[in-house]
Symmetry: C2
Subunit: 239 residues, 2 copies
């Protein structure tokens, strides 16, 4: 059965410092939970109202699931997943594309960018320490399971970007058109905060400023959309 | 002063049928409100805690603004804006790109797509009748003011797509690569529901199925990201 202590533990994982001290985060929903089960991450506990779909899970009532769920309407399954090791090695950058996030605040945006990384086969995202925590329940749900394949590292961006040997690209509003860019074999691509963009201390470390040309009246694009367009242009297109 | 009747009216606009009967919607925040003031939409009333920035607005206290705001933390200004005329004419489709949305449910996704349309200078979006209401406060806030330049029409998609003379493209998971597509001078591009994609009755009306090639493990991209990438590839790029 789902004890009161367990309910208390699970609910405490809404807060980052508790996730860190327990080394656990919460994932919900058939698809998201299944992706973690199929990955090399460790699913520690499983709770479900649907034993047919998840025979290995602890059967709970809908009422019990609602008590531990972060969702307005609880899905049929909830998992406690172990936070993976996040030590970052500079060699991970070689011969590929890495996404770098400077102070992304919105959980949905981080989740969307993880999904984009997964779509374009980018397996590493480096985040500034102020970026929203990836194990925040809202991020987990918006990744749709892609977190099972993409590793996120939180680092002091200024000191680590200084050590990069791959070229550093940054998405800004006044750079060179992405449509004139050739496909990138290896690079780090930096995306900045939703309101303020890339911070000035990081901007200094960027080798190539790039921009999605604007045709209409909008002042900016959502950062997830920008990341998608830039990944498509610099990685996806086959020519 | 802000009367109780006025507060009641403004709060009633959270619900679609009240927005329709009053012909009004609520916009909040400096940038969003300013964009509507600079547009050809009619701002009926303005309430602000900051008379310096909005001298023409009715000055209210922070407490009063919180009582009419839809936001967790009220911004400094709130406007009542008249819902613009939304009659749609087929001639609007000629010589340009139109976005068609089949049953988009998430307000943030609709807002993001309106911002993308504005960025790529698309001035018309056609929505199925089940698509989330554009004057929903969450949509208004996520458009960042782009709704001042993009017109949204709700139509019975099946009957109206049958009358289209421009080619109809649809974003699906098993179509032709967008990277092999030439730039489009005129077209309607259909995007489907977040979970179920384009409905089968609309799929039958599509002339060209297109797909963003997948390189990694994600099963799908967020519909706003897909719309951004497809608009960039088919409209934005200059070759």
């Amino acid at each position: 059965v789902l004890t009161n202590n367990k309910i208390k533990l699970i609910n405490s994982l809404k807060v980052k410092k508790n996730r860190e001290s327990h080394g656990l985060f919460v994932a919900e929903g058939d698809k998201v939970v299944q992706e973690f089960m199929d990955s090399d991450l460790v699913v520690e506990s499983l709770y479900t109202t649907n034993s047919t779909a998840f025979p290995e899970a602890l059967k709970v009532s809908e009422k019990e699931l609602a008590r531990i769920s972060n969702l307005k309407t609880a899905n049929s399954v909830l998992a406690l997943v172990r936070i993976p090791d996040s030590s970052f090695k500079l060699e991970k950058l070689n011969n590929k594309i890495t996404i770098v996030l400077d102070n992304i605040k919105d959980p949905g945006n981080l989740g969307t960018i993880i999904r984009i990384a997964d779509w374009f086969s980018i397996d590493t995202i480096l985040c500034s320490e102020e970026t929203v925590d990836v194990f925040n329940p809202k991020v987990i749900q918006s990744t749709m399971g892609s977190l099972a394949r993409v590793r996120i590292h939180y680092e002091d961006l200024r000191s680590i970007l200084n050590k990069f040997s791959v070229p550093i690209y940054g998405a800004v509003l006044d750079g060179n058109s992405i449509y004139k860019q050739t496909k990138l074999p290896e690079a780090a691509i930096v995306f900045g905060n939703e309101s303020t963009g890339i911070s000035s201390e990081i901007l200094n470390l960027i080798d190539h400023k790039i921009t999605i040309p604007r045709f209409g009246g909008a002042e900016s694009l959502n950062v997830g959309v920008s990341a998608g367009i830039i990944c498509s242009e610099l990685i996806g297109k086959p020519f």
